[in-house]
């Protein structure tokens, strides 16, 4: 906050180093939750407003500018052709959305990143198995804009919001299941009303409760769960993922020292999964987090966010602990015992 004010009052000049500090904030919301002062709710908003000022002054860091350009031109940060967006679902029998009860909104990371795709596939299979009426938008799907909004590019965000809102309206979408907590966040908080938005962990927990998904075979794994910031602190959902894991025979759930409200961010928010202002050094958040998971004695670190899967997946390689710890999305973990259903 001091640096933001110093920059606004021209006590310090804009610099690459200042930019790194500003963009390294992942909007994890820990400050909002921990700060005792009455302005705590505004802290993250102040970061976003400052980034808007950076955009307005044409000072955006090159990596961030590239992220914006890619989203605007391709609808995803990876410069992947739009027509490839639904390719992850080929051969799975998942139908295009055409008025089913739920739209399964996959998002950029779930659509294009290999780890995200694994989670998307696992979730698609589970929803199919449970008889859920759902479809995907495939090549019609567009970036949800959560990161663009957090990074202060309000023009592109408004464009995405209008485009998506119109698409949802035209397609008759009323209920959305999101793979990513980031999409869950932006659809609930920034999009026009009238949509019922669910993170997939709530849907799966309810399907288990209703007996529509029955994890039967034993997994025999010690699993720790990493609370994603946009599902936990931003949305208050801590129980559904744990209910799913607790329902799987043979899963021993062990908590890391920092969990739930006190969970430690993977470092991927505010598009850091792409811009990576933390770098991969040993003190990067993702590496700290997988070391914490290792200390818990878990052999599997469960995630409920494709961005976390990407960040933590890279971190176990950097730490050289791939033999001891695997990162898996909860949908993938549940998929194994349910496949024998």
């Amino acid at each position: 906050m001091w640096l933001i004010r110093a920059w606004m009052e021209e006590e310090i000049e804009w610099s690459e180093s200042l930019g790194k500090i500003l963009y390294a904030c992942t909007n994890c919301n820990n400050c909002v939750q921990s700060c005792k002062f009455p302005f705590n709710d505004e802290i993250v908003n102040i970061i976003t407003a400052t980034r808007e000022e950076v955009v307005a002054n044409g000072l955006v860091m090159p990596k961030v500018a590239r992220f914006f350009r890619n989203i605007e031109a391709y609808g995803n940060p990876y410069r992947e052709p739009r027509e490839n967006r639904g390719r992850w679902a080929e051969g799975m029998g998942i139908e295009p959305y055409q008025g089913q009860e739920f739209l399964f909104y996959v998002g950029c990371v779930g659509s294009f990143d290999e780890k995200g795709q694994r989670a998307a596939k696992a979730l698609g299979e589970l929803l199919t198995k449970a008889g859920v009426s759902f479809g995907i938008l495939g090549s019609r799907e567009e970036c949800d804009g959560n990161e663009v909004n957090m990074l202060g590019e309000s023009r592109i965000f408004q464009m995405l919001r209008e485009k998506n809102s119109q698409l949802f309206k035209d397609a008759g979408v009323k209920k959305i299941i999101t793979l990513s907590p980031h999409a869950y966040n932006v659809f609930r908080k920034e999009y026009p009303g009238g949509l019922e938005v669910f993170h997939y962990t709530r849907i799966l927990a309810d399907l288990i409760k209703e007996g529509k998904l029955k994890p039967t075979s034993k997994l025999n794994r010690r699993v720790s769960y990493h609370d994603p910031c946009f599902l936990g602190r931003h949305a208050g959902e801590y129980e559904a993922p744990r209910q799913i894991l607790a329902a799987i025979p043979g899963v021993e759930l062990v908590e890391m020292e920092r969990n739930r409200e006190n969970s430690f961010c993977c470092g991927g928010g505010s598009a850091n999964f792409y811009t990576d202002f933390f770098g991969g050094g040993e003190n990067s958040p993702s590496r700290i987090r997988v070391r914490e998971a290792g200390k818990s004695g878990a052999s599997v670190l469960a995630v409920a966010c494709p961005t976390c899967a990407v960040m933590l997946g890279e971190a176990i390689k950097d730490e050289g602990i791939e033999e001891k710890l695997v990162i898996k999305d909860i949908a993938e973990i549940l998929g194994e015992p349910v496949s024998h259903q």
């Binding site: 001091w2 640096l3 110093a6 006590e11 310090i12 610099s15 180093s17 005792k36």
Partner: protein, 459 residues
């Protein structure tokens, strides 16, 4: 600062932990208090004691000033360089090395925060606690101790610097030294019966060495704990009440406060923290304390109703007490207080004059006493919140602080953790031979005058 010097620092600690970038120096060139910014030329964050030693040796060779820093929360800019040079940020030295359950002490590194030790004890030694100051959780334990800080157990067990069993110190010339029982034993359990060399580093504001490890005493955590709240309008009665409280000597903590806003707070509130291991002990202590205040039915009343009850409980029941819930902070976030360590008999005059000074500088008064061990003295905090964005208002706060410090000294008190102007006032008033002794000690330990120079500067 020379590029070459920074490169040498980078060779010692790694490039990630050295900086002279303007935005980082901006942060290290000021603190949250009312003092004007002063420029740091660089910052370095050592990760090991050996790195601290190498930095000190290098700084001696190059005659570069070092300002050691914990969390930088003194509010009196004691970790902001007065004569440039580097800030030695100790946050990376953050290991809790040992907790001895039987002898009840913790050995910690200099960067361990209040919150970190508290959380560690709650998890691994739930029956133990350390004396926690009324400061943000990021404040370091060592920083608090080195300025003779107070904590929630101070009235009962002593000023926090009295709770030190031992220290490891990097001397200004780079040698590593252990003090207390750890100098002759693997156990960090006692300060006595050796010559008390720790006094060479406590209260010296980082001018005599760099404490890298420290053993702090721990205390039993009581099963029962509650507040007794009373209000009064008689300033004259305060010394008598303190004497009564000291007579039974059973309290855990005691505050006496008033503030101008909100309006309900314009009385004198006694906040007595009572704790006990058994219900019987706890109830007996409450009863004995209640009896003291019941002796003055015309002058003191129990606080049983709103609007005072909830805010006082919210502020003082927790450990640490949470000042911000009751403080009338100004928009703009500036806040500084001066702590006057006072003999008991001058409290009424100090209290009344504090209100007058606040009004003279068009500031809101906010006074708070914490009883010091066994009621032999008190720390009276005169707080002056100000809007950081309004330079004129910060200037008024500085004026009020200076006048309050002069008052403290006139009354025979001493300014706690004094900012530079207050240090000068103290040195002016100090016995000349004592002043010379301080100077000789500093020059002996720090021949190149590199340690936080400008502080406690006699010549």
């Amino acid at each position: 600062m020379k590029e070459e010097f920074l490169s040498r620092l980078a060779e010692i600690v790694g490039a990630d932990y050295v900086s002279d970038r303007p935005e980082e120096l901006y942060l290290y060139s000021r603190d949250p208090g009312a003092q004007k910014p002063r420029r740091a030329d660089g910052v370095v964050m050592p990760g090991t004691v050996d790195e601290v030693q190498q930095i000190v040796r290098l700084a001696n060779r190059e005659k570069i000033a070092i300002t050691p820093m914990g969390a930088g929360l003194t509010l009196s800019a004691l970790t902001v360089p007065l004569k440039g040079g580097i800030v030695l940020d100790m946050k990376r030295l953050d290991r809790i090395i040992e907790v001895n359950q039987a002898s009840r002490y913790a050995v910690i590194e200099a960067g361990v925060t209040q919150a970190a030790l508290r959380a560690y004890l709650e998890k691994h030694h739930p029956g133990l606690q350390h004396s926690t100051p009324e400061s943000p959780p990021t404040a370091t334990i060592v920083g608090n101790i080195l300025i003779h800080g107070h904590g929630h157990l101070t009235p009962r067990y002593g000023v926090n610097s009295q709770m030190v069993n031992g220290m490891e110190v990097v001397l200004p010339t780079g040698e590593l030294c252990r003090l207390g029982s750890c100098s002759v034993s693997p156990k960090w359990f006692s300060r006595d019966p050796l010559p008390d060399l720790m006094g060479l580093f406590l209260g010296w504001l980082g001018t005599t060495g760099i404490v890298t490890k420290l053993s702090i005493q721990l205390f039993p955590k009581p099963a029962f704990r509650d507040l007794l709240l009373f209000s009064s309008d008689s300033v004259e009665l305060i010394p008598e009440i303190i004497a009564e409280l000291s007579q039974i000597n059973l309290l855990e903590n005691c505050f006496i406060i008033t503030q101008e806003k909100p309006r309900w707070a314009q009385h004198i509130f006694y906040i007595i923290v009572v704790s006990g291991q058994s219900k019987e002990e706890f109830e007996t202590k409450k009863e004995l304390h209640n009896r003291i205040f019941q002796k003055y039915p015309d002058k003191i009343l129990p606080v049983t109703e709103e609007p005072a009850l909830t805010p006082l409980r919210e502020r003082f029941l927790g450990v640490p007490p949470f000042a911000a819930t009751a403080a009338d902070f100004r928009k703009g976030g500036g806040f500084e207080y001066t702590g006057a360590i006072l003999p008991i008999e001058v409290i009424p005059q100090a209290w009344r004059s504090g209100i007058e000074i606040a009004h003279k500088y068009d500031l809101l008064y906010q006074l708070g006493i914490q009883l010091l061990p066994n009621g032999h003295s008190v720390m009276l905090a005169y707080s002056y919140p100000f809007n950081r964005a309004v330079a004129e208002e910060a200037g008024r706060a500085r004026g009020a602080l200076d006048e309050t410090n002069r008052l403290t000294l006139e009354l025979g008190g001493i300014v706690w953790k004094p900012e530079l102007p207050a240090q000068k006032l103290i040195l002016e008033k100090m016995d000349a031979n004592t002043r010379q002794l301080m100077d000789r000690i500093k020059k002996t330990l720090d021949p190149n005058d590199i340690m936080n120079p400008g502080n406690w500067e006699v010549t």
